[in-house]
Symmetry: C2
Subunit: 329 residues, 2 copies
């Protein structure tokens, strides 16, 4: 079964599966909606960490080893900034800087982020559509035992050390789903994939945009999540630590519960097969670690096959006039 | 005779003599007033080419061979900018960028250029005061056979090719001399040195700030210019070409005439000794080419000695109640 695929993701882990999907699909069959809750202003520049990770990853210019930023990067801007007494807690590579300078100029000129990202993707030769979750200002706030921290301050400056008490997305309730995001969800015919990004920090901001959750529930394509939890640990980043601090068991059962009502199926790692019976939606278990490009494409292929198997039940559910799922839920 | 020295300069040629003066003097004896008529906004960043050349030169981090920017520079920002389809006619090095980003942030935050430059000079360990000619917006406009061009477009984008018809300094008449510049002229007790910068493009903008010319005429220190013309040529840059296009003979006689009423003495290169009799002010002739640091310090020493010889006549002239020079000329 052919048709277009939509992926929702944050930074590194999600971008890896997005790259797998891009390689598994034909040109222009993939759209990626990316978290912008981590975006912030730094040194007068607008920084969109997750958007840039997705752009660099899909363009094949990301630094795989470091996990963020561009390959063959140099750091002379930072060394000169240090000499001038500037703020150096957030690392900006020389190559990476061009993206921030161009984006800041574009937005200050009255352009919207969606258009800037589309233009950057074209210049980088990416045959997929990449969409920020919103063109409006939404900030992920981490409430911690050290007070409320904006995401980058929590993540980079404080290195995720403070204990998380809750998370919220400042400004989200005042936004509306953008025309481009709305259209992308409507157009997705083959699969909607929630990538193995942090559900609380990377996916929830996207779902917090008014209209997104409802549109996903009405979409004709099956919604498949790939769990970021493997063997009781997060593959990368603070997902497991945050789950513990929020009093959530670090397991795929928790991930399934978190996406309850939204997903038609969950993909988990084969090491967690014992959890399958506790998960209320169909589960596909396989190797979910993505070390090589082959791993990513193989996992993408399995995601697409699993979505294919869930396509008919999904259609029946979405199109049925039953009381449990309404078109305007 | 000791005391403080004030230098007026533009970019490269002037900065070389400023460095010679810095080495010839003790710490905190030198103030440099720098042209900002070439400043412009590019990629959303505020660029101050002459200020930065002076900062980098006095800090010992300038690229001597290229003549602008920083030593050990890399160009990865530019290569990435090109990839993104950005404007690449103006080269910004990776190390250099930190200055532009920090300056832009400082000015957008409501700070003034004078304070930013003072802070940058301290961070770079420069034992001299560097002052922008003004904190207000003055733009050097080059009227050419290709129309009116802002300086950087004339200089970099069009490589000085258009024929110059006239020059003017947009905004200058609406400005007032800053407290810092006014104070620096008042405080100069040993010498005021007009560096061998382009008189029309680099020194005239400084003199166009209302109050500067009058303050220089009232200053107690002798005003010495070092001619940028050697053997009928400019040592560097478009000075000679512009003089020809403006119908001015390319000679030290023209330079002396240009600064008539302002200078107490002119330093010319020994190859032009035949022009001495046509110059109305005292002349000191010597080697004015500054290839090595030794050349710069030696020329600076000669400038200071020449100023010493002109100190008494200057004082007599400035303090005399004669009709030819008034305190408020």
């Amino acid at each position: 079964m052919m048709g277009s695929v939509l992926a929702l993701c944050g930074g590194v882990g999600g971008a890896k599966l997005a790259l797998g999907l891009l390689r598994a699909l034909g040109p222009d069959e993939l759209t990626v909606i990316v978290n912008t809750g981590d975006d912030f202003d730094h040194l007068g520049l607008r920084i969109s960490p997750d958007i840039d990770t997705v752009l660099y990853t899909l363009a094949g210019v990301a630094d795989e080893e470091r996990g963020w930023g561009r390959a063959d990067e140099t750091w002379n801007f930072m060394s000169s900034l240090r000499q001038l007494g500037g703020e150096t807690w957030f690392q900006l590579g020389d190559r990476d800087l061009a993206m921030h300078v161009e984006r800041t100029k574009y937005l200050r000129g009255g352009g919207i982020l969606t258009d800037f990202v589309g233009q950057a993707a074209r210049h980088l030769g990416i045959a997929a559509q990449i969409l920020p979750m919103t063109d409006e200002e939404v900030r992920t706030i981490v409430e911690t035992d050290h007070g409320a921290l904006e995401f980058q301050h929590y993540f980079v400056e404080h290195r995720c050390r403070p204990q998380v008490r809750s998370l919220w997305f400042a400004g989200a309730s005042r936004t509306r789903v953008s025309a481009a995001v709305s259209r992308a969800i409507f157009d997705a015919s083959r699969a909607i994939v929630i990538c193995p990004s942090n559900p609380y920090l990377s996916i929830d901001p996207i779902l917090s945009i008014p209209g997104v959750r409802a549109s996903l529930k009405e979409a004709i394509a099956p919604v498949i999540a790939v769990s970021p939890i493997v063997g009781g640990h997060a593959v990368k980043g603070p997902t497991a630590k945050i789950m513990r601090e929020l009093g959530i068991e670090v397991s795929n059962v928790s991930i399934a519960a978190h996406y309850h009502g939204l997903i038609d199926g969950l993909i988990i790692d084969a090491v967690d097969n014992d959890q399958v019976r506790e998960i209320a939606v169909p589960v596909h278990s396989t190797g979910t670690l993505m070390q090589s490009l082959e791993d990513r494409v193989r996992l993408a292929d399995e995601v697409l096959a699993f979505a294919g198997a869930l396509a008919i039940p999904r259609l029946e559910r979405v199109l049925s006039p039953g009381p449990s799922v309404g078109l305007f839920a």
